[in-house]
């Protein structure tokens, strides 16, 4: 920051006037650019170092036969790992489990989150208490909550198991997946509810009143006024929750360790790295998961149109 930068950067006379003509930057504007880039640089460096570079490295690893147990057999094999993973029933099974968990937990969370948002928005008393209570599932360490569910469903020691005739749901595939979905729903409904609440509070009260005067029923007001106005908030919440749910790992790791065909793609990737020590296959699974997530994100962002989060930040 030399003394010349004090030339009041905030007062650039006219903004960039015409395109094509490269605007002559004043000293102040140049200082502002420099400062902007300087302030962002550390964050950008860390984010690139920890994400972009490893992803590039993972792509490279995924093209190699690389097993830590057999390091001398390391060799470039092109897309061999992709063939191996994509022709393996384990991958498709884990993907199916992940999709099932994601679809059910996100759909149910959306409904319950909407109900929670309604309660938080409309309840005439105890709003603070309800909000505090519902923040606890959001904040609690997923692993801690997962242990709670695990012990609750352990026959002979869990209250839920004893209610359901000493059942042992965690030992059978379908029931274990249901328990995993319940644990996910419990943990994530508050976040969904709070995002929806923020959307709900943007719906003008006058509009609701006007519709009531015109004789619209509660359900009609909800579907014709509230829902359309909340569409951006709902899409943002759905995007966050879907991507988050697709990454599910902790709950499954604690509840079933992925046994009995309950593992999601993240658990499969983890097992390939730490049980099989297969860096090549593990990286291939990582890249495939990344591609899945990118596809989900693109679908949602196409759905957003101009309402994408951050699109307004960029314009400032």
């Amino acid at each position: 920051m030399s003394t010349t930068t004090q030339a009041v950067p905030g007062t650039e006379a006219v903004g960039p006037s015409k395109k094509k003509v490269k605007p002559q930057l004043t000293e102040g504007q140049r200082a502002e650019r420099r400062l902007g880039l300087l302030l962002c640089a550390p964050a950008v460096v860390v984010m690139i170092a920890v994400t972009a570079y490893p992803v590039g490295y993972a792509i490279f690893l995924s093209l190699e036969r690389y097993n830590l147990a057999l390091p001398q057999a390391t060799k470039f094999i092109g897309f061999g790992n992709y063939g191996a993973v994509l022709s393996s029933p384990y991958w498709w099974h884990a993907l199916l489990v992940t999709v099932i968990i994601t679809v059910f937990s996100v759909a149910i969370t959306l409904v319950l989150g909407m109900l929670l948002a309604m309660v938080l928005h409309r309840t005439p008393f105890g709003r603070g208490t309800v909000r505090t209570a519902s923040l606890i599932p959001y904040g609690i360490v997923t692993v801690a909550a997962a242990y709670s569910w695990q012990y609750a469903w352990t026959p002979g020691q869990g209250y839920l198991s004893s209610i359901f005739n000493n059942s042992a749901p965690l030992t059978s595939q379908t029931e274990a997946i249901i328990v995993i979905i319940i644990a996910e729903i419990w943990k994530t409904t508050p976040f969904m509810g709070l995002l929806l609440l923020a959307g709900l509070s943007l719906v003008p009260e006058d509009l609701q009143k006007a519709a009531r005067v015109d004789g619209a029923s509660g359900w009609q007001r909800f579907t014709r006024i509230t829902l359309p106005l909340m569409k951006p908030a709902i899409l943002v919440a759905l995007l966050f929750r879907t991507l988050d749910s697709f990454r599910i790992f902790d709950n499954i790791f604690i509840l079933t360790s992925g046994n009995n065909g309950t593992g999601a793609v993240s658990n499969l990737g983890y097992d390939n790295l730490f049980s099989a020590l297969n860096l090549g296959i593990g990286s291939t699974i990582s890249i495939l998961i990344f591609i899945c997530v990118a596809i989900i994100a693109v679908i949602f962002i196409l759905g957003f149109g101009t309402a994408a989060p951050g699109s307004d930040l960029g314009k400032r």
Partner: protein, 277 residues
Amino acid sequence: MAVITPRQRASWTTANFVVIALAMIPVLWLLSLSFKTPAAVLDPSFWPAQWTWGNYSGILTSSQFLRPLVNSIGIGIISTVIAVVLASMAAYAIARLRFPGKTVLIGMALLIAMFPLIALVTPLFTIERALGLFNTWPGLIIPYVAFGLPLGIYTLSAFFREIPWELEKAAKMDGATPFQAFIRVIAPLATPGMVTTAILVFLACWNDFLLAISFTSTIDSRTAPAAMQYFSGGSVFTVPTGPIAAAAVVITIPIIIFVLFFQRRIVAGLTSGAVKG
């Protein structure tokens, strides 16, 4: 809601009660388990017949839990401080300055916020082993900072947009450099947003399990959530249910404190980045 009929009052009371009960029961179950004696753990009744502090005194005198707890606190605080400082700088630039590449930065932050963590585990594991970062504090702090940054940049740039421009202009008129304007004028106004962001980033670090079990191998750097699965009972024949429940309760306490004291801020922070207000 000017007048509430008794019937409305009853139905809202029920609705509130259902929400609170659903949110609290799994937590209360952990609490109850943590006070059960090793024998009573095998009794499915919700509350213990006899209460014991044994599980707590067990884990709080064992380095198998204390050391990971210290790791969790230390790693969480260091990661949070670094992430909030770096994110504040970037968010200030995004909210206030004109410079090229802003959209790219926002897109990048959004991309990382959506990133499947497992996709990084394999390559980072290899890189960390090569650099000697595996099973060290920095080995967890660096990825935690990277994943705290998008959250921080989003939340903070939303907060920074609320701060009045004029004050900064006034400071610059008075001869402050943009940097001085940031430190002297904007930073104090931005403190509430920074506190909120710090809580959210800390909770994210505190909550992490996948990176913690992947990049650690001993209690030198293992965090509390990752350490719980290695607990053992009093003997080979005792299940470690009680100690694990007690540890789960201990790591839940900071969350309850944050939620009780900063409830409003957490809600504001969670929603500011996602929904335009």
